[in-house]
């Protein structure tokens, strides 16, 4: 069974239709890149999968392991294994990162009927992941993303992803605002999470990120539709020739 099946998805924001019949199938173990110019609807797609309020689905469906994802609350989707790494992670003053991580992990475990992780087990797990991502301990004591640099924020997203062990990871413009070194650390973290039963959807404007996170499939999105799909070589073609060639196809 596919992990994620999006069929003819139509989405409106206020009076404007953003997605006009988008179709995409993602199987476990696959890494899909979605590339497209600004305003093509890439971020809308990631938000709708995660369940962000403010979008109206007017047609089509999204199935997650065969279940209707659109009927679930966002926290339910998270507990089922949907994870969105945000383009702009928010700051939560006064809430220590460690507290946040623990609250999130235990909320998901509880929703799945699992026991809470004991404090020593939790700490051990977080510290192990943090060290592979070069996240210092004092960063975990600070407020969530408060005063973090762009690179630190993205590493914090990867840390959460590694801790929560989702089956579908959506990475929204992970490379925005990162220099090459920071990008490499974050990408290494993501690559370490690739596994036969986990799929990833990497949303990006530039080919650059795909040098570090090499996809199995590339989809070109313009004006709210997937207009072309292919292997990783499609990304290189886009880099050389730009999106303009696809504008007419939409």
């Amino acid at each position: 069974m596919p992990l994620l099946e999006i069929k003819n998805l139509q989405v409106r924001v206020e009076d404007r239709e953003i997605l006009h019949g988008l179709t995409l199938t993602v199987n476990p173990g696959e890494v899909h890149a979605i590339m497209g110019p600004n305003g093509s609807g890439k971020s809308t797609l990631s938000h709708v999968i995660a369940g962000k309020p403010g979008y109206e689905v007017t047609g089509g469906e999204i199935l997650f392991r065969g279940e209707n994802l659109l009927e679930m609350e966002p926290d339910e989707r998270a507990a089922k294994g949907v994870f969105l790494a945000f383009q702009y992670p928010v700051e939560i003053p006064g809430v220590a990162t460690m507290t946040f991580l623990r609250t999130a992990l235990n909320a998901q475990r509880k929703a799945r009927g699992e026991k809470e992780l004991s404090t020593p087990d939790f700490l051990k797990k977080v510290r192990t992941i943090a060290s592979t991502l070069s996240i210092p301990q004092d960063m975990l004591k600070r407020g969530v993303n408060v005063g973090f640099s762009g690179g630190e924020k993205k590493r914090n997203e990867v840390l959460q992803m590694a801790l929560l062990e989702p089956s579908l990871c959506i990475l929204d413009e992970m490379d925005s605002g990162l220099d090459i070194d920071a990008l490499r650390v974050a990408a290494d973290g993501v690559n370490a999470l690739r596994s036969p039963d986990r799929a990833m959807v990497v949303i990006t404007h530039y080919q650059r990120l795909l040098n570090y996170i090499v996809p199995d499939f590339v989809h070109v999105m313009t004006r709210g539709r997937v207009v072309k799909s292919g292997g990783k070589e499609l990304a290189l073609e886009l880099e050389a020739r730009g999106y303009a060639q696809f504008e007419d196809a939409a």
Binding site: A50, K52, V95, T99, T103, A104, K110
Partner: protein, 493 residues
């Protein structure tokens, strides 16, 4: 975090309107005749076997009160209070002096048990497994108009600390009471304080002798039980030279349709090098979701840093009451004295809060710090009102104020009204204020990670109030954290 989860579980078990402390204790009570007159004042004074000077003090306050008018400057609205339609004194029957806890009406003990107040010293002392370092807390419990039990009297006595109902202190330590009562909040201070001076029935009295660090947290638990009864308690705390005391106060009341008046006065006196830390968790019945019922909490609290290098610190968590009118203040009289005010004021439903502080810098190099966190939800109105002044002799006075307001939903209001007066040019006053709405993006970020909407709000709000929660003694901080989330239940659609 375990506390967040626990809060949510608890919230789920209760209904929005289900105020946890809303039960009533069925006991017979001994009441003064309804209404207020000189006879009422004499009745109360006689009930307490007070000396003549005390009765005179009360009558003088009563006569002054007759000439005063109710203040209207606060941003609160309520129908006119009929002061003749209230009972000013109510005591559980039979009224006799209680020598041990066993003589207290078991119904009252049960009430405090339900509220989670440890009145039985035996249980506290021989509690099955006490965690290492768990501190003891001495409790004075005030039920309607009388104090029903004060625990750990003996142990405190050994340290020289006096902790007893103020009605007893008036008889047993008249010299101390006469020396300090009304010296911080004079009988003429304001309408509600003057009313309190005339009819106060009980409250706590604390005296910590020179150089003594009070060996345990002192605590008073106030409970209004009787219908149509005002509660007018009076608390007086004196820390003599070099002394230290930490005092906690908690309040609840049954759930009723009518509004009940609570007009308390608290006076603190800190002499040279002394320190008083006063913490309140106020959870009077706030009224139901339609705004019917609830306590009018019209309270005057003031501390006098009378000696050099003294320090008074107020910490309050205000979640209850239909209307709160309360400004715990510091008079910084002694040179180098310091005043602090840390406040979390939460309003939901139709609650109205007008609260803040006054820092009055009189002495040299006096410092003060104000951290106020207001959270408004539902259809509530939440006002911070603060005054910072430096008088002519207050050379080098410094104040730092930060007022932050958080709005949940779009039908509530947050208001900040600071008054700043510097009569001395060397004073340094800093004021910061922010108002923010709880952000949809932050909530979505949290729920995407698996938190429910309620958990997300609880987490964000607890983060918002963190610097103030840290000022509370630990046992109270955990309770306050839970209370905050419960108070905001139903505030997010």
């Amino acid at each position: 975090m375990a506390a967040v989860q626990e809060t949510v579980d608890r919230v789920k078990r209760i209904d929005v309107d289900q105020y946890r402390y809303g039960f009533e204790t069925l006991i017979e009570s001994d009441k003064a005749p309804k209404g207020l007159s000189e006879d009422t004042v004499r009745f109360i004074s006689a009930k307490k076997n007070e000396p003549g000077w005390m009765l005179e003090w009360r009558l003088e306050a009563y006569r002054r009160w007759l000439t005063m008018t109710e203040p209207t400057w606060a941003r609160v609205h309520y129908p006119k209070i009929d002061y003749q339609d209230l009972y000013y004194y109510s005591a559980p029957k039979p009224k006799k002096s209680v020598a041990s806890l066993d003589e207290i009406d078991p119904e009252i003990l049960k009430t405090y048990e339900k509220l989670g107040i440890p009145l039985r010293e035996v249980e506290v002392l021989e509690g099955v497994v006490r965690p290492e370092g768990d501190r003891k807390i001495a409790v004075d419990a005030v039920f309607d108009s009388v104090s029903v039990a004060t625990t750990f009297q003996k142990e405190l006595k050994q340290a020289g600390v006096i902790f007893m109902p103020i009605s007893e202190a008036i008889r047993e330590h008249p010299e101390l009471v006469q020396k300090y009562l009304g010296t911080v909040v004079p009988t003429s201070d304001n309408y509600f304080a003057t009313l309190n001076s005339a009819v106060f029935s009980d409250g706590s009295f604390v005296y910590v002798p020179p150089g003594v660090r009070c060996p345990m947290e002192l605590s008073t638990y106030f409970r209004i039980n009787e219908r149509n009864t005002g509660q007018f308690e009076r608390t007086l705390i004196i820390a003599d030279k070099g002394a230290y005391v930490s005092y906690l106060e908690g309040c609840t009341a049954p759930q009723r349709d009518e509004n009940q008046l609570h007009a308390a006065v608290v006076e603190l006196v800190a002499l040279d090098d002394a320190e008083i830390k006063y913490s309140t968790v106020q959870n009077w019945y706030p009224g139901n979701s339609e705004g019917v019922g609830g306590i009018y909490n019209f309270v005057t609290k003031r501390g006098d840093c009378r000696g050099a290098n003294s320090k008074i610190s107020w910490t309050q968590v205000e979640t209850g009451s239909a209307i709160t009118w309360k400004y715990p203040s510091c008079i910084l009289r002694g040179d180098n004295s310091r005043g602090e005010f840390y406040s979390i004021a939460i309003s939901n439903g139709y609650q109205q809060v007008d609260s803040g502080t006054k820092m009055i810098h009189l002495g040299r190099n006096t410092t003060s710090r104000i951290i106020s966190k207001g959270i408004a939800a539902g259809k509530s109105q939440n006002t911070y009102r603060g005054l910072v002044t430096a008088h002519r002799k207050a050379k080098g006075a410094r104040n730092f104020t930060a007022c932050d307001s958080l709005l949940i939903g779009d039908q509530c209001g947050a208001h900040t009204v600071p008054y700043i007066e510097a009569k001395k040019s060397s004073a340094t006053f800093e004021h910061e204020a922010t108002t923010s709405k709880i952000s949809e993006d932050v909530l979505f970020y949290c729920v995407q990670r698996g938190l429910s909407q309620e958990e997300a709000v609880g987490l964000v709000v607890n983060g918002f109030v963190r610097d103030v929660l840290q000022q509370l003694p630990m046992e109270f901080a955990v309770e306050a954290q839970k209370l905050i989330s419960i108070s905001l239940e139903g505030s997010v659609g």
